[in-house]
Symmetry: D3
Subunit: 126 residues, 6 copies
């Protein structure tokens, strides 16, 4: 059970609805995920987080799929099940194949291994 009630569209105040509308329009979907419905309990955080995500995850010097892969790498390292699930879904929509997913996780695994080795051996920056 979530720590807070999820705010559904019909029950949402105008300020929250405006964000939901922008999420759906930007992503070309007709619903918003539980993450947004949860943080909508704090409309300021909802607005700020959505504006940031929209700005950060959009196209730029890195393409949106690459950004999703980076997101998954952080989420798997933190063990955030919700985030892994939702961003794996998002990455697939943006073109991530099974082969790419397999390689992504292989890199994530190796990086976590060598991070621990570098820490344990206390290797100095060269």
């Amino acid at each position: 059970m979530a720590a807070v009630p999820l705010i559904e569209y019909p029950d949402a105040p105008p300020r929250v609805r405006a964000v939901y509308d922008d999420i759906m329009a930007t992503r070309k979907v007709d619903r918003v995920n539980n993450f947004w419905k949860a943080i909508a309990n704090d409309p300021g955080t909802l607005e700020r987080t959505w504006q940031s995500i929209k700005q950060v995850m959009g196209p730029g010097a890195l393409d949106p799929l690459t950004k999703e892969l980076i997101y998954i790498a952080v989420s798997a390292t933190n063990g955030c099940e919700y985030c892994i699930a939702s961003h794996t879904g998002a990455a697939r929509k943006k073109g991530m194949t099974d082969e790419m997913f397999g390689e992504l996780l292989a890199v994530i695994g190796m990086a976590n291994e060598t991070n621990a080795l570098a820490a344990g051996y206390r290797v100095e920056v060269d």
Copy 2:
């Protein structure tokens, strides 16, 4: 100070030299980093880790630069200074621009933020 003496090439046993030679040949460089010189204290781990890194970080469904970005994402999340430094250097060699680095870190930052929000709100997978 590292936890172990770094094994320099002239002092390395043949088994370790063979790995060093392969690292330098594969990466087209004339030295190996401290990380390898540290784990060379355990030649089995050196061989296994290098073979895995060589296989995982090479070209595939994901290109080598994308893999370096993923590596940095894991390393920044874990706070592994050595790994961040060495893989930032590797990524730059493979073409990472300042703009890409800035966007990479922006995504890493947002992912760590939303991971904590999803955990704190205990959002359920939808």
Copy 3:
């Protein structure tokens, strides 16, 4: 399923019952949480952990509610669902409002974001 059977009061040895009694008396509740029933499998850890928690979480230079907020911050960062759930409940009992919870999570989120940025940019202490 937990890794160990939960030790219920009627089945608990006197040493464990004494801790359960003190938990219930201190907290003015009539049951103990699963956490205590689990670590009761190791009575030494139960006694030591309860004594420490009782000493650390009580009133002092920081008030008990502030201490609960700090607890939640650690737990959300570690992604410990059990701990987030139980300490969110404890904080609410001690007066945490919806607004406070929203601000707490906003700070936790920003701190995790900027921690990752500071690590990734390798910013030196000034």
Copy 4:
């Protein structure tokens, strides 16, 4: 050495100077910390992060000192030395005494201990 050159005020473009000016005015100080000078390499992240920090860390249902304590709790859990140092300084400026700092760390320590116990015993939410 940081991953990027620090952007000093005289060398900063107008967009960055505007943020620096707002940081100094808001905090009533005459310099900005290395963190801001580092992320100023990516002006979009500088602007976004400062706006978010300014909004999140200001007074609200939680007072600014409590927010600094929460920040330190996240930073100590993540082992982010830069963030611990800068926010410990900020908390002291806002009134954190030695006693409060001692209790803060005692709570952070206990929370990390019990998080690991709850994970290891796989305690279920009750």
Copy 5:
């Protein structure tokens, strides 16, 4: 629900079956765990990970039970429920008693506590 379908033995290609056969023969069991069935979606990672685990977890200067305890310590610190569950089971098969499990978790808990204290107090290596 896992991120990928689990590859069951009858549906597995020869390359995957060979690994499954080796896992079952090495561990003297007649089934493989979900972990292997999941990563079998990427046969290269399956082969590499199994070869590494087989080499690393076998007897050496440290006995296999001690290695399982170390594995649990990492997994509890990372909050990886699957890994805690499977390696707790493996450790019990190799002789871990209730007393040993209790002491293991007590050490894991204390280490996580003192890690946070050392970070928060920014103690320098002596």
Copy 6:
């Protein structure tokens, strides 16, 4: 620079000296480490932490060297440089050989890798 002044023996109040004396007597050494000198700023935490460490790290169902290995596993996973350094030293005093250290880190590395794989593939407990 540490967050607090280190409390040296000649400057320590009796309550702190008593703990220092017990640390030196228990460990048969003639000085205490920086960790204790730092947390001595909060005598209650010093007493509580030392009593817990003394109880938890002593001989029991697990021998003291095995406990040090577990401590290092947690510390390397958390990237706590101070803790890795001090407990690697302690483990060597208790008999950890180079071979054991190499195997310890190999297990720590693999566990961190497979933790990330299990999280990323969202493998369910079986």
